[in-house]
C-alpha cells in the first residue's frame, strides 16, 4: 500500500464507514509495492495506450506513457520552442548539412548501463528502419557516433526543421540493442523492453487497466523527478475520466470533451487548464479529377456556407480560436497570416453550386466523420449549415480505427479528419498539403503551393518563412480543399494538490519531472 489514504477523497465518510464495518472477510490481498519516494504518486487518468513502441506509438496516451520512461535529445517546450535535454548542445555546419550534438555524460539507463552515443545512433537508425513518422521532419540523414558522447548527423539536403525532427515525439532515446521496444517480456524480464533513461521506471503494467512507474532514483537531473511515482489509470470513456477526477480517484486528466468541462467548473478542488493549440478538425474536400471538389467553386461553396464563428461558439463551446482554410493556426505566432475568412454567405454558396453544377442543390453527399471528440456534433451542425448553402450530406460516423486503418480517410470525397498539434507548421505542409505528401487526403495538387512548400522547408529565416506561409494561406483560402472550423483549446484538469503541472499543447508531451503532489 504505497498510497496514503488521504488521497482517497474523504467526502463520503459515512458510506465508507458503513462499508468498512461490512469487512467480513478479506477477499483479495493487494500486492504491496516498494515504498515510494517522498512527493507522492500522481495518478493520471487517460485512454489506454495501444501501441507502446516508442518509434511508432503516436497518440497522446502513448507518448505520455513512453515519455515517463524515455528521454528525448531535445525537448519541445509548451511554447513550441526547443530546449536541450540529453543533448546538452548542438552545432550546425555552415552549409546547414551537418549537425553535431554533444550528449550529457553520466546518464544511466534504468538497468544501470551508461547512456552513450551508440544508443543515439541505434535510436535514429531504428526510426529509419521502421520508417517512423519522425522522418517527416528529419528528412534524409546519416547518423554516426563520434566518441561516446558526440553524435554527428549528416543531411542529404537543406532542412530548416531538422532540429524539430530530432525533437520529434517518436524520437525517444532507446538503449542500444533493445529488441522489441514496447513489447512485454516473459517472467523476470517482463519490462526488459522498457529500458530508458527517463524519470520513471516501469514497475507494474496491466494492459488496458493500469500502469505504475516508480521514480528513477538515479535520474540524471538532480532533484527530479519530484514525484515518488506515477500511476496511469486507463479509462477509455471521457465521462468516466471526469467522474474519476471528481471522486478523487485520479489527479490529472487531459483532452476533456469541451461539452463536459462545465461539469468540473464548480469544483473547488479541481484546477482546469486550457491551452491553445493547433489541434483542429479538418474538413477536406477531395479535389482530384472526378471527385467532389474537382471544381474550385464547389470547394469555395463549402467555405462560404460554413459558419466558423458559430461552430466555435456552439459545438466547441468557444474553447479555441476561429479556424481558417489551412493548417497554419494562430498558435504559430509569426508564421500565422491573418487572412479574413469570407463571411458566412449561404446564398453565395448556392449561386456557386448552381454555377458549377447547373443544379440548384448539391448532393446528398456521403460525409465521413471520424468518430472522435465532438466531431459528431460538428457534423450534425455542418449538415444544417451546409443545407442552407444548398449542400446536402449524409453523415457516416466512422470508428477512428476503422476510418484510418481502412484508408477510407484517404479515399472519400468529403470527410472530417482530426489533426493534432505539431510544434512547427511545416510538418502539416510536408505530410498533408504538398501534392506528393503521404497523407494528402484531399488529393490537392497545386504546383504553386508545392513550390512554396519546398521553398519554406529550406528557409531558416523566420520572417522569410512567414512570408512564404502567408502566400500559401492566401492561395488555400482562395482555392484550397480545406475548411477548418476552429483550432481547439486543449483542456486538462487536475486536482488542486498537483503542483508544477504545465500541460503541453500536445498533451502527450506534458513534462512530469517537476510536478509534485502537495497534500
Amino acid at each position: 500500500m504505497f498510497l496514503n489514504s488521504a488521497h482517497v477523497n474523504g467526502k463520503s465518510g459515512i458510506s465508507r464507514l458503513m462499508f468498512t464495518t461490512l469487512m467480513i472477510l478479506i477477499l483479495f490481498t493487494m500486492s504491496g509495492i516498494a515504498a515510494a519516494q517522498d512527493g507522492g504518486v500522481l495518478r493520471v487518468g487517460m485512454n489506454a495506450p495501444e501501441n507502446l513502441d516508442p518509434a511508432t506509438g503516436s497518440n497522446d496516451p502513448e507518448i505520455l506513457f513512453n515519455g515517463t520512461i524515455y528521454d528525448y535529445l531535445i525537448d519541445v517546450r509548451p511554447d513550441n520552442t526547443l530546449a536541450p535535454n540529453l543533448a546538452s548542445g548542438w552545432e550546425m555546419s555552415d552549409d546547414g548539412l551537418t549537425y553535431t550534438f554533444a550528449l550529457v555524460e553520466g546518464v544511466q539507463f534504468h538497468d544501470g548501463s551508461d547512456f552513450t552515443a551508440a544508443d543515439v545512433v541505434f535510436t535514429f537508425e531504428r526510426l529509419k528502419a521502421v520508417e517512423s513518422a519522425a522522418l517527416g521532419l528529419l528528412g534524409d540523414f546519416e547518423v554516426a557516433a563520434d566518441g561516446d558522447y558526440t553524435v554527428v548527423f549528416t543531411l542529404a539536403g537543406l532542412n530548416a526543421d531538422f532540429l524539430y525532427g530530432i525533437a520529434s515525439r517518436f524520437a525517444f532515446i532507446l538503449k542500444e540493442g533493445t529488441e522489441n521496444p514496447g513489447v512485454l517480456g516473459e517472467g523476470d524480464d517482463v519490462f526488459s523492453n522498457f529500458i530508458g533513461t527517463g524519470p520513471f521506471v516501469l514497475a507494474e503494467y496491466s494492459a488496458g487497466e493500469r500502469a505504475f512507474l516508480t521514480a528513477n532514483e538515479n535520474y540524471w537531473i538532480e532533484g527530479q523527478p519530484m514525484l515518488g511515482g506515477i500511476e496511469f489509470l486507463f479509462i477509455d470513456d471521457s465521462l468516466t475520466q471526469i467522474d474519476a477526477l471528481r471522486s478523487g480517484a485520479v489527479d490529472f486528466i487531459f483532452k476533456l470533451d469541451v461539452s463536459q468541462v462545465a461539469t468540473l467548473e464548480g469544483e473547488s478542488d479541481i484546477v482546469i487548464t486550457e491551452v491553445v493549440s493547433n489541434q483542429h478538425p479538418l474538413i477536406r474536400i477531395r479535389s482530384d479529377e472526378g471527385h467532389l471538389g474537382e471544381d474550385a467553386r464547389i470547394r469555395q461553396a463549402f467555405r462560404l456556407t460554413t459558419n466558423r464563428e458559430e461552430l466555435l461558439l456552439t459545438v466547441q463551446e468557444g474553447r479555441g480560436l476561429v479556424g481558417n482554410n489551412d493548417p497554419i493556426g494562430p498558435t504559430y505566432g509569426d508564421f500565422f497570416a491573418e487572412i479574413d475568412n469570407p463571411a458566412f454567405d449561404s446564398a453565395a454558396a448556392c449561386d456557386l453550386i448552381q454555377e458549377a453544377t447547373g443544379e440548384a442543390r448539391l448532393g446528398p453527399i456521403d460525409f465521413y466523420v471520424d468518430n472522435a471528440l465532438n466531431f459528431e456534433s460538428l457534423a450534425v451542425a455542418l449538415q444544417q449549415q451546409w443545407s442552407e448553402g444548398c449542400i446536402d450530406v449524409n453523415i457516416l460516423m466512422r470508428e477512428s480505427g476503422v476510418y484510418y486503418a481502412n484508408n477510407e480517410w484517404m479515399e472519400v470525397d468529403l470527410g472530417i479528419t482530426g489533426w493534432g498539434h505539431r510544434p512547427v507548421p511545416q510538418i502539416y505542409l510536408n505530410i498533408m498539403v504538398a501534392g506528393d505528401a503521404v497523407w494528402n487526403e484531399a488529393h490537392f495538387a497545386d504546383a504553386e503551393v508545392d513550390e512554396l512548400i519546398a521553398q519554406a522547408s529550406v528557409t531558416a529565416d523566420t520572417m522569410a518563412r512567414a512570408e512564404i506561409y502567408a502566400q500559401i494561406s492566401t492561395i488555400l483560402a482562395e482555392r484550397g480543399p480545406y475548411v477548418i472550423p476552429w483550432f481547439s483549446s486543449l483542456i486538462g484538469a487536475a486536482s488542486s494538490i498537483v503542483e508544477g503541472l504545465e500541460m503541453h499543447p500536445f498533451p502527450g508531451l506534458t513534462d512530469f519531472r517537476s510536478v509534485s503532489i502537495n497534500d
Binding site: S12, R210, E399
Partner: protein, 315 residues
C-alpha cells in the same frame, strides 16, 4: 449421471469448436487492417509489414486458425496485438478475476433477496404483497442495464455522493474500497436479476403448491411451515437453481454494458476493446472463456439439479 456429464462436456467442446470457427471467420470480416488499426495512422508500410510478420497475419486464414487452435489447446493463447502485447492468458484471467469479484457480489446481493421475494409473493398469491412485488419486477426486469446504471449513478454517486461512479481497479484499494466500488455495478445487475429470479421462484412455488403431494402433506397433518420448507421449497427451488446458474453465465458475458457504464476492467469491457481493436487473439480467448463459463454454469446447474432431484439422479 457420469455418462450424462461426459456427453455434456463433449457437446461443450463441440460448441466451443464451432463458435471458435464462427468468431474467427467473423474477425476476418471485421473491417480494417489489423496492423494499421494497432499501429495507428502514422505507421509506415515497413512497420505494418513487420507487425503482420510478427503476428503471422500473412499466413492463410486456415493456417492462422490451425495455429491458434493448436496454441489454444496447448495453453499458449498467444499475445495480444496491442498494449504491449501481453500474453493473452494471464491478461484474460486477470479480467475474469475482476468480473468474478463483481459476479460474486451480485449473487450475494441478489440470490437470497430474490428467493425471499419470490417465496413471499407465491405464498401471498394475488394478494397485495404479491402485486407489489409483481409490479416491481415487471417494471425492473426489462430495463436495460444502462438505464438503471445511469439512474443509480445519478442518484447514488452524483446527488448523494455515497458511492463512486467509477469502479476501476486501483492497487491501492482496500477491501472496503472494493466493496464500495463494486456496489453500484452490483446493484445495477442485481436489479435485473432480482426481478428475474424472484419471478421464477414465485412461479416455481405456485406450481408446486398446486401439486397433489402438497395436499397429501397437508392431509398428513403436517404443520404449514414444515410443508412449505421441507416439501414445497425443496422442489420449487430446483428450477431457481438453474436460473441462478444460468445467470452466472449471463454475468460472464452480459456484464458488457455494466462494465462499460462503470468503466470496470472486466471481461466485458476487454471484449468491447478487443472487437474495436480487432484484437483477434484476445477476442477469441474471451469468447471461448465466456462460452466455457456459460456452458459450465449450465452443466453445473444440471448436475446440481440432478443431485437435488432423485428422478434425474438415478436415471
Amino acid at each position: 449421471m457420469i455418462r450424462y456429464v461426459i456427453r455434456r462436456i463433449m457437446l461443450l467442446v463441440f460448441t466451443m469448436f464451432i463458435t471458435s470457427i464462427i468468431i474467427f471467420a467473423l474477425t476476418q470480416l471485421l473491417p480494417g487492417d489489423i496492423a494499421r488499426l494497432v499501429l495507428g495512422r502514422d505507421a509506415s508500410p515497413v512497420a505494418l509489414e513487420e507487425f503482420r510478420e510478427t503476428h503471422h497475419l500473412n499466413d492463410s486464414v486456415p493456417v492462422q486458425y490451425a495455429n491458434w487452435l493448436k496454441g489454444f489447446i496447448t495453453g499458449d493463447w498467444g499475445r495480444s496485438f496491442t498494449r504491449g502485447n501481453p500474453q493473452v492468458r494471464p491478461l484474460i484471467m486477470d479480467r475474469l478475476a475482476n468480473t468474478a469479484r463483481l459476479g460474486v457480489m451480485i449473487l450475494v446481493l441478489s440470490v437470497p433477496l430474490s428467493i425471499l421475494l419470490g417465496v413471499v409473493a407465491a405464498l401471498n398469491e394475488d394478494g397485495i404483497l404479491d402485486s407489489i412485488i409483481a409490479v416491481f419486477s415487471l417494471a425492473v426486469v426489462g430495463l436495460p442495464e444502462f438505464v438503471t446504471g445511469v439512474v443509480l449513478i445519478n442518484v447514488f454517486a452524483h446527488q448523494l455522493d455515497w458511492f463512486p461512479s467509477v469502479s476501476f481497479v486501483s492497487s491501492s484499494y482496500s477491501f472496503g474500497d472494493w466493496l464500495r466500488a463494486l456496489f453500484l455495478p452490483s446493484l445495477t445487475a442485481t436489479l435485473v436479476l432480482l426481478a428475474y429470479i424472484a419471478r421464477m421462484t414465485r412461479a416455481g412455488v405456485i406450481d408446486e403448491l398446486k401439486k397433489p403431494y402438497v395436499r397429501t402433506a397437508t392431509l398428513k397433518g403436517l404443520p404449514q411451515r414444515q410443508i412449505i420448507v421441507k416439501h414445497v421449497l425443496r422442489n420449487a427451488l430446483m428450477p431457481t437453481i438453474t436460473v441462478i446458474a444460468l445467470s452466472m453465465g449471463w454475468l460472464a458475458g452480459g456484464l458488457v454494458v455494466i462494465e462499460q457504464v462503470f468503466n470496470f476492467p472486466g471481461l466485458g469491457r476487454e471484449l468491447v476493446d478487443a472487437v474495436t481493436a480487432k484484437n483477434t487473439p484476445v477476442l477469441q480467448a474471451i469468447v471461448m472463456l465466456i462460452i466455457f463459463v456459460y456452458a459450465s454454469a449450465n452443466l453445473v446447474a444440471d448436475v446440481m439439479y440432478g443431485i437435488l432431484n432423485p428422478r434425474i439422479r438415478l436415471e
